[in-house]
Amino acid sequence: MLTYIIRRFIGAIAMLIVISMVTFGIFFVVPQWAGSTPEAMASRYVGRAATPETVHLVAQKLGFYDPVIVQYGRFAKGIVAGAEYDYGAGVEQCPAPCFGYSFISGQPVWPDLLDRMPVTFSLAIGAALLWVLGGVSVGVLSALRRGTFFDRLSMGTALAGVSLPIFFTGMLSLVVFSYGLGWTPPGGSWTDFTENPAQWAYNLLLPWITLAFLFAATYARLTRAGMLETMGEDYVRTARAKGLTERDVVVKHGLRAALTPILTLFGIDFGLLIGGAVLTETTYTLPGLGQFAILAIRNQDLPQVMGVVLFAACFVVVASLIVDLLYAWVDPRVRLS
């Protein structure tokens, strides 16, 4: 088990290095292939109608005149050894892991990531609870009541959930429940859990439900399909023949086997969400990692993009590792080696 974890850990680091290189390449190497010059790149980060001198100074400050490998090396070095930033009136130390300084704001990226993580984490946790409980329960009930009105209604609703994009359901729910009925707060409402837990939950209620609606639909359909398959297996018939209660048959034999693919999906979904629920955070103006990523890309703020991509990638890698470990617990036939 330990060997397996170490091997996966080393693989994860290699994966992150590759991701960082690819991201860096997209932003630096590809534009150069297209003929972009250091001055052209720097002109994205200055005020409009900036003089050539200003553009030159900024290109110099951002290191665009250095070879790409040097620029990447500087970024990588910052992560392991920290970096320094000249803010005019002095020099600031950015301790490791330093993901660099924003090209736009001049602020270090790492504290921004940490600062925004609780928002995304809060959103993901609440929504995940709702969609797992809701999705799996509905899926199980639908499978057990196959062909009934409940089954058709729940699967129809699930189809709507999968089909409707968050920026639609989100805006619609804001207009109805926040600006119309006044039941929920307007977009952009966020309170830290440590400040006021009740307000925290109240502010996140609508984003949770909207996000969970999207995911629960997938989980309900997957659970239903898995349950229908497993409930037809021989061992389920055997369990019933042995005289087990229907509850035990469904939960211990049927659901447990059907959960394996759900668990895989959950690990990836949750990891991705922790890396940033981009659409939900943008729709509801929640200052999390997803919104941060969108703003970084929109502003072509490379250090921020690199930071948030690596940060998100870490979560996905860790989540998939945890899922692999959980496999062995959920399905005893799986052995880690």
């Binding site: 200003t54 900024v58 803010y87 119309g180 509801y284 072509q300």
Partner: protein, 588 residues
């Protein structure tokens, strides 16, 4: 009532996001008339805030809730270049001059702010002297002296630290050669550029005469900064206020709030009534949600001030009650097509004129959203809000739909009687520019000019494509969709950046088409002319010379559709700010 109306609009609000392109939306919706402080009803009416102050009030107190769908470039007065930032910044900074407050045509003129009077030019406009008022204080109670203004100007010189701010003072003032900024060369004497000759006198020394200097010093580079509190690029985290409000909180990228600055003296400041007790600003709010909150009353002000998003237009315009809450000013912004003379056969003026004649102005206006949402058909370069602007039309055509016969005649004179092929660029993420390109493609095809359309990302449009000299030459770009808004509403502020060929640099250009010695010569005359009437006439001559050169095809003088917030008092559009006058606003 409000809930019912909001509910009735709920479906259209969401559907409008999808249907706005086809004009969907609408629905019965009524709004309560706003109440003034005295209790009298202020009757909402379309354009009520353009010529008078809507819902006037002197009531103090309350919190003004502000939303921004993006973020400031910087809150530091040396490092910001957004129009809304200049407007909003007057809450926490004061500059030597400022725009005359309130609605109407006078709003595009400047009046003293920190200064007792407008600048006193000498040496034929090479030296400008300002006397600042006495009794001025920073938020910490320390006096504001002339040296604080001079220091602020000097610190703004460092473009490596303050990358976003305007460069006008870097270029205009006679800086010493060895001066690299107050941080890198703290011992260098910069008095050859700007100096405080005593506690109340600031003197600017220019390299050459410049007539519009009073407009330059309304920019935030002249907002005083106490040297001992200056923290370079980190100063934006806590700007020391010289205005009626100071920072209470500042969470970068999320929100900030301002509260009253007890050390601001209203007696020294006739321009700011400072009505709200507090101003709360939320950043990076979903753009469509800003409009929804503005309509519902959850937010008082959309600080960007560029107007409603397409999704909200579909809901507001068909609804009389909502439309009555809007103002539709023509702003000092021109959407235009650069006709680039570097690309054959457009190096021949007759071929450029063929483009002018062939363009269908009505179709172009429609592409930009029509009369209300897009703008009024532009016949020349300078928009109406620019001081001294004159409207003229060198390429008048029946019903503004182009003159095919004259276009063909021009093509014949150009030696291309059957037309020619060229490329037109536009920003792919701007639907209106795409529609404009398609409109141009159809109109020019009538005379045999074939356009190949190429869309590029807006974020790198100027740096890598349509504003990049090498790209344009190598790829034979003949036409490029562009837009430009003035830095200040006079001829220099609007025209210089887009028609002076000497400003062209390798990348990041807004002008790659106007390269005329005649235009450059007229600019040189206009910028030193101290007589305002003569100066304005010269700028009109510049405008005419550009149109004669046929290197800019004006499309529309932009209009914005601004929505007055619910429960907001003293709402008035200011021509200088090109937005509502934020310093006037109060809440009921």
């Amino acid at each position: 009532m409000r809930r019912k109306s909001a509910l009735a609009a709920a479906a259209t609000a969401a559907l409008a996001m999808v249907l706005s392109a086809c004009g969907g939306g609408g629905g019965g919706n009524s709004q309560q008339p706003a109440q003034s402080a005295s209790g009298a009803a202020a009757q909402p009416a379309f354009n009520a805030g353009l010529t008078e102050v809507f819902n006037p009030s002197t009531k103090k107190g309350g919190t003004l809730k502000v939303a921004n769908y993006a973020d400031w470039d910087s809150l530091d007065p040396a490092d910001t270049y957004y129009g809304y930032s200049f407007n909003f910044g007057r809450y926490y900074w004061r500059t030597l001059t400022t725009y005359k407050t309130g609605p109407g045509p006078g709003g595009n003129t400047v009046v003293p702010d920190l200064a007792e009077a407008l600048g006193e030019p000498s040496d034929e406009g090479k030296t400008w002297t300002y006397k600042i008022k006495s009794g001025l204080k920073f938020e910490d109670g320390s006096p504001i002296a002339a040296k604080d203004v001079a220091y602020a100007v000097a610190r703004s010189f460092d473009k490596e630290t303050f990358t976003h701010g305007p460069s006008y003072l870097n270029e205009l003032l006679a800086w010493p050669k060895d001066f690299k900024g107050v941080y890198k060369t703290p011992d260098v004497d910069y008095s050859s550029a700007v100096e405080a000759t005593d506690d109340t006198t600031v003197v600017f020394h220019l390299k050459e005469p410049f007539a519009s200097f009073d407009y330059i010093v309304q920019m935030p580079m002249t907002a005083p900064v106490p040297k001992d509190k200056d923290t370079g690029a980190k100063y934006k985290d806590h700007v020391i206020s010289s205005g009626p409000y100071k920072f209470e909180t500042n969470e970068a990228g999320k929100r900030f709030s301002l509260v009253r600055n007890e050390n601001w003296d209203a007696a020294t400041d006739p321009n700011r009534p400072a009505l709200p007790d507090k101003i709360e600003v939320q950043l990076n709010v979903n753009a469509d949600d800003v409009d929804n909150q503005l309509i519902s009353g959850d937010v008082h002000l959309d600080v960007q001030g560029t107007g409603l998003q397409p999704a909200a237009l579909g809901k507001v315009l068909p609804d009389p009650a909502l439309k009555a809450r809007t103002d539709n000013p023509t702003i000092p912004r021109l959407w235009f097509v650069s006709v680039i003379p570097d690309t054959p056969p457009l190096d021949n003026i007759e071929c450029r004129k063929a483009v002018m004649w062939a363009a269908d102005r009505v179709a172009n206006q429609t592409a930009f959203g029509g009369e209300v949402a897009g703008g009024e058909i532009a016949t020349n370069v300078m928009p109406p809000p620019i001081v001294g602007q004159e409207k003229f039309d060198l390429y008048a055509s029946p019903d503004n739909k182009g003159d095919v016969a004259k276009a063909k005649a021009a093509l014949t004179a150009c030696g291309q009687p059957n037309g020619f092929s060229t490329t037109m660029t536009f920003r792919a993420d701007r639907p209106r520019e795409k529609a404009l390109a398609e409109s141009m493609q159809q109109a020019l095809a009538r005379v045999g000019i074939k356009l190949t359309l190429k869309g590029f990302p807006g974020s790198s449009y100027f740096s890598d494509y349509a504003g990049n000299v090498n790209y344009v030459k190598k790829n034979g770009v003949g036409l490029a969709a562009h837009g430009w808004g003035s830095d200040w509403p006079d001829g220099y502020g609007f025209l210089q950046a887009i028609v002076d060929s000497r400003t062209i640099r390798p990348a990041g250009n807004y002008n790659l088409s106007v390269k005329s010695d005649k235009v450059d010569g007229l600019i040189d005359q206009a910028k030193v002319e101290l007589d305002e009437t003569k100066r304005n006439k010269l700028w009109v001559d510049v405008d005419k010379a550009v149109m004669e050169d046929a290197s800019i095809l004006p499309v529309v003088w932009a209009k914005s559709l601004l929505l007055r917030g619910q429960g907001v008092t003293n709402v008035a559009y200011n021509e200088g700010q090109s937005q509502y006058d934020y310093a006037l606003l109060g809440v009921e």
